[in-house]
Symmetry: C2
Subunit: 589 residues, 2 copies
C-alpha cells in the first residue's frame, strides 16, 4: 500500500464544526453553495449532506495564490480546503455551524462544475421536468435530500420494530409468474425458455402465504412491486411495500401489532406520540364520511336528514333516497359567490350532483336556506338541532340515490377542507376501517370480484351467505387510514381449501383456471396450512404523509413520470434487433 492511500479528503464534514472547535486545523470538502466576493475578502458557503460551513479567504491572512484560485470558483464546484476554525464576526444562529468560519490556508479544486440548470436552494427555480432530468442536482436540495433521509429512517425503524417482534425478513423472488387476476403484469421474456415469460410481482401475496405454510410464523419484507397500469397522477409503475404476514392470529392480533408499528414510527422518527387508533366499520365510514378512507383531521361528519326534510312539498328531497349534509363551522361567513362556486363544483360531471342546498345558521338565531320556499323556520330549527350546528355555521346538503350521494358529499367534504385549509400536514389522524365487503359487484362485467383479493377470508358467521347473498358478506379485511389516505390494508386469509374453492366459484374461476393460476398455493394448502393473515403498507405514501407532503415523487430517489418514463436515463428505450432475436420476439407492425 502506498502512503497516498492514507490521505483523506476531510477531517470533518460541513455540518459539525462548533465554537468548541475554535483554533483547530481542519480539512473540509464539499460543494460551493454561494460566493461573496468583497475584493479583499471572500466568503464561500461550503455544502455537503451534513450542512454548510462558511469559509473565509482574507487578503491579510490567506496567500495570494489561494485567493486568486478562490476567485475562479463557481457555484457547485467541488473543492477541498485546509484551514483554521475561527470565530465569526457576524454570527448566524439559524444554522448549527453559524458561530464559526474556517480561515482557508489551502484550496484545491477537485472538480469544476457547469452552471446548474436550476438553483440548488430549498425553493428551486427548476420546473418538474427539469428537476427530473437533472435529478442528481435536485437531490442536492435540502427538501429532497431530507425526504430520502426520512425514508431511510422510517425503513430502519420498521425493520427494528418488526425484528424485535420476531418477524423475519425473507426475500421473495422478482421473476415470478403472470396471473391475469388483478392489475396488468409487467412480463419478462425468458431467453433460456423460449416463448415463455416471467412476470414481475404486483405483490408477494402468494409467496408470503406460502411462507406461512412453511412455518415461518412471522414474515415481513420491504419490497418493490410492479403494476403496468395507465398511470394516474402520482402513481408509479414500481412502488415499495412493507409486506407482512403472521400465522396463528386473529384480526385483532394484526391490528394490535401494526398499530404499534405505526406508533413506533411516529414516536421514533417524528417524536410524536399517537393515541389509540379509532376503529370504524366500512359501513360506518361510508355513512359518516362517504368514503372508506376518511380524513379525521377535520369534522364535517354526515348528518342524515330524511326524517326532517321529507315531510314538505320539496320534491327534490322527497324523491331522494337520502338527504344528507354536513356542518361547516363558521361557514355562515361564506359569500353567496363562494357558495355558488361549491354548487358548480358538485355539479361537474366528475361529481355529478344535481345541486347543492344549504342553510345558514345566522348570528341572530334565525335560519336562511336555499329552500326557504318549502321549509319554515321551525323546520330549519330541526335541521340545526339534528346536525348540532351553532350560530355562524352553515349546513351543506345533497340528496339523491344513497350510495351516489354519499360519495358526492364525501368528495365535497374533502374539497371544502382543501378550500378552507383544514388539512394540517403536521397533524396525524390514523384509524382502522374494518369489516370490508368480501365482494364487489362489477357493473360492466356483471360479476362479483374480490374487493381485496381472492384469498381474503369471509367472516366465519357469513360463510353461508356466499352463495345466497354475496353482497352482504363481510370479510376479515381492514385498512389503516391516515389523513384521508389508505396507507395499509390486509386481511385474514382463507386457509381452508374448501372455502377457497367456494370463493373461486363465486368469482367465476373454473377449476382449471384456479388450478393453473394458483395451483401451487392450493397444493400447499393440502399440507397443513395454519390460520394466517397479514397486511401491506404503501411505503411511498406513508413516507410522503409522514414528511408532510402528498407528492410521492418527492420521496422516491429516481421516480418515473406519468408516462412511466425515467427522463434522466431516457428509459424505456429501443433494444437491438440482436437482443430481440435472442429472446425470440419481434415487434408487431
Amino acid at each position: 500500500m502506498c502512503a497516498e492511500q492514507y490521505l483523506m479528503y476531510r477531517t470533518h464534514n460541513c455540518g459539525e464544526l462548533r465554537n468548541s472547535d475554535l483554533t483547530k486545523q481542519v480539512e473540509l470538502s464539499g460543494w460551493v453553495q454561494k460566493i461573496r466576493d468583497k475584493g479583499f475578502i471572500l466568503w464561500v458557503d461550503l455544502r455537503d449532506r451534513y450542512g454548510i460551513t462558511q469559509l473565509i479567504f482574507d487578503q491579510e491572512r490567506t496567500s495570494k495564490e489561494v485567493i486568486e484560485l478562490a476567485k475562479t470558483l463557481g457555484r457547485e464546484f467541488v473543492i477541498n480546503i485546509k484551514g483554521t476554525v475561527i470565530e465569526r464576526a457576524s454570527k448566524n444562529l439559524l444554522i448549527e455551524t453559524g458561530e464559526i468560519e474556517v480561515l482557508v490556508s489551502d484550496l484545491k479544486i477537485l472538480n469544476a462544475s457547469k452552471t446548474p440548470p436550476f438553483t440548488i436552494e430549498n425553493e428551486s427555480d427548476g420546473g418538474e421536468e427539469l428537476r427530473m432530468k437533472y435529478r442528481y442536482l435536485d437531490i442536492r436540495r435540502n427538501p429532497i435530500k431530507d425526504n430520502l433521509i426520512l425514508r431511510h429512517n422510517i425503513t430502519q425503524e420498521v425493520r427494528k420494530y418488526l425484528s424485535d417482534n420476531s418477524f423475519i425478513e425473507v426475500e421473495t423472488p422478482y421473476l415470478i409468474k403472470s396471473t391475469p387476476e388483478g392489475a396488468r403484469d409487467f412480463v419478462v421474456p425468458s431467453r433460456m425458455n423460449s416463448g415463455e415469460f416471467y412476470a414481475l410481482p404486483q405483490s408477494p401475496q402468494t409467496f408470503k402465504q406460502l411462507l406461512m405454510v412453511a412455518g415461518m410464523d412471522k414474515y415481513f419484507q420491504i419490497v418493490k412491486c410492479f403494476r403496468d397500469e395507465d398511470l394516474r397522477a402520482d402513481r408509479q409503475p414500481e412502488f415499495t411495500q412493507i409486506d407482512c404476514e403472521m400465522a396463528f392470529v386473529k384480526q385483532q392480533n394484526i391490528l394490535d401489532t401494526f398499530e404499534n408499528l405505526v406508533k413506533h414510527l411516529f414516536l421514533n422518527v417524528k417524536q410524536i406520540k399517537l393515541d389509540k387508533f379509532p376503529v370504524m366499520t366500512y359501513d360506518q365510514a361510508i355513512e359518516k364520511y362517504g368514503t372508506d378512507k376518511p380524513d379525521l383531521r377535520y369534522g364535517m361528519t354526515f348528518i342524515e336528514l330524511n326524517e326532517v326534510a321529507k315531510h314538505k312539498d320539496f320534491n327534490v328531497f322527497n324523491k331522494s333516497e337520502l338527504v344528507v349534509g354536513f356542518i361547516i363551522k363558521g361557514g355562515d361567513s361564506l359569500t353567496r359567490k363562494e357558495i355558488d362556486k361549491y354548487t358548480e363544483w358538485v355539479k361537474r360531471p366528475q361529481i355529478g350532483a344535481g345541486g347543492l342546498a344549504y342553510m345558514r345558521l345566522q348570528d341572530d338565531g334565525s335560519y336562511k336556506s336555499s329552500v326557504d320556499k318549502f321549509y319554515d323556520q321551525s323546520d330549519l330549527a330541526n335541521w340545526a338541532k339534528i346536525s348540532g350546528g351553532e350560530k355562524g355555521d352553515i349546513l351543506f346538503i345533497l340528496s339523491g340515490e344513497k350510495d351516489k350521494v354519499r360519495t358526492q358529499l364525501g368528495a365535497l367534504r374533502v374539497h371544502v377542507a382543501n378550500e378552507l385549509n383544514l388539512k394540517d400536514s403536521n397533524v396525524f389522524k390514523p384509524l382502522w376501517v374494518v369489516d370490508f365487503p368480501l365482494l364487489q359487484w362489477d357493473e360492466e362485467t356483471k360479476t362479483f370480484h374480490a374487493m381485496h383479493h381472492p384469498f381474503t377470508s369471509p367472516k366465519s358467521k357469513h360463510i353461508d351467505l356466499i352463495n345466497t347473498e354475496p353482497a352482504a358478506v363481510r370479510a376479515d379485511a381492514y385498512d389503516l387510514v391516515l389523513n384521508g389516505n389508505e396507507i395499509g390494508g390486509g386481511s385474514i386469509r382463507i386457509h381452508d381449501k374448501e372455502i377457497q374453492q367456494k370463493m373461486f366459484d363465486c368469482l367465476g374461476f373454473t377449476k382449471e383456471e384456479a388450478k393453473k393460476q394458483f395451483g401451487f398455493l392450493m397444493n400447499a394448502f393440502e399440507y397443513g396450512a395454519p390460520p394466517h393473515g397479514g397486511i401491506a403498507f404503501g411505503l411511498d405514501r406513508l413516507v410522503a404523509i409522514m414528511g408532510g407532503n402528498e407528492i410521492i415523487r418527492d420521496f422516491i430517489a429516481f421516480p418515473k413520470n406519468n408516462s412511466g418514463r425515467d427522463v434522466m436515463i431516457d428509459s424505456p428505450s429501443p433494444v437491438s434487433e440482436e437482443q430481440l432475436k435472442e429472446i425470440n420476439l419481434k415487434t408487431r407492425q
Copy 2:
C-alpha cells in the same frame, strides 16, 4: 368488534416452555412432528418455528373424546391444544423444552395434512427436485429455516452497522435501461411506450454513482440484481447485493469501513472475532496461489523452482517459462496410486497440464522424485530447502507457460485441499486483494475490456500508461476474499470526465456509443462530481459461507434451478396472445 376477534391461538410458542412454567395452563398451536401411540398413552411432538414441545395424551387424565381425536392425527396436521405444563418422566436435555411436557385437555384440528412427499427432518429423504417443488415443506426443515433466519440476522446487522456509520439506504429503480456492456440484460417490454423496453438492473452501479454526484455522501442498499446468463451450477438469474458507495474517500477509507462491517457481522451474528485482514496485491495472489481469490484456510503456497530446476538435462523444465510447486504437509503418505490420480486430474482438458512431477521428502532424510533420472539428491535437497518442506512431506510440481501453469497449480491446490479435507467450514479467513489490473485482454475479440467495469479508476501514477502500455495499468480496485470466494469487490471510480473519456477510448467505445449508453452519467460529471468509490458484496454467497455451506440455493427462500425455472410455481410460462398484443410483440417462428 365481536369478541371472537380477541381469541388467540396460543399463549406460548413451541420453543419457550421450561421447568419454571410447571402447572401453568397453556395454549399451543403448531404442526405434528411425530406421534408415539402406546394405546393408553400417546405423545405428540408439536413443532413451530421456535422449537418442539412434547404433548401427552393420557387415558387417565385426558378425556376419551380428546384421545380419540388425537388418534386420528397424522404428520404435519396443524393443531391447537390447551393443557397443563407438567414435568417429564424421562427428560430430553438435548432440546430446550426437554424437561417439560404438556398434558392435553383440549385438542382442535386446525387443518389436516396429506402425507408430505419427504420427511420434515434435518436429514430429509427428499431429493433436490422434490424439495424445490415443495419448497414450502422444505423450509419447515430446521437447516433451511435456520439459513433464512441467519440471512435475516445478517441483513439486519449490515443495516445496523451501515446506518450507525451514517450510510443512507436509498432505493434505486428496477425498471432501468438496457446497456450492452457486461452480461446480458433481462428486458421488460413497455406497453405505454410501444416498441421500447426497460431492463432489470445488473447492479445499481450508475445510480449509486449519481447519488454521489447528488451529494448523498454515503449510500447503501440491499438490492436484487439480475443477469440473463447461461447458468453455471449454483448461479441464480436474480441475486442479492449489498451495494455501497462513499464520496470523498480514498481506497484505504473503503477497506477500513468494510473490513469493520465484516468484523461486525462475524462478531454479532456468529460471535467470532476476526483479526485484521491481510492485504495482498493481485500480482502476489497470482504468484503465491495462482488465483485472485486464494483460500487461506490452508497453506500450499507456491514455490518457484526455476533457479534450482533448470540447470540439468530435463527438457520439460528447461523449456518451461516457470517451474512451480507446493508442499503438502505429510504428503509422503500418499500412495503411488493416489499420486497417479492427481496426475490424471491435472491432465484433464479442463486443467490442461502436461503432467505432474513430485518429490517425496522421506522420513530417513532422503528424497525420491518422479524426475530422479535428471536430478541427484543434492539437487533435490535444494528443492526441499527452498520450499521449506520437512520429512514426511511431498512437493508437487507443474511447469509451463507462466500464467497457465499458475492457474493449473492453483486449481490443483484447491483440489488437493478438497481431497484431504483441509477446508474447515468453521474457520474463516478473509483477505483483501488489491491493485487489480485495469484492463483485461480478450483473446477472442483482440480488444481490452474493463476487468471490473468502465468506471474503475486507474492508479493515478498509471494514468499515462493507458495509451502506451494498457496491460500494465493497475487500478484502485479491490476484492474481499473469504475462504476462496470473492464475497465483495469494488473500486475508486473515475470522477474526471477526461479520464473517463480516455477509458472509453481504450475500451473501443465510440463517442456516440459512450454517450448513448452512459450519457446521463457523463452529463452528471459536468456538474461537480466528488471523488468517490464503493464496493458490492454478494449477499447470497456471504450468507452461505457464514452458514458453513457453499450451496447458495439453500440460503434463498425460493431459488430457481439451473435452467432458471421456479419448479414450485412453474415459471417462466407462456402468456396469453392478448397480453403479447398489448405489449405489441409476437413470438418469432
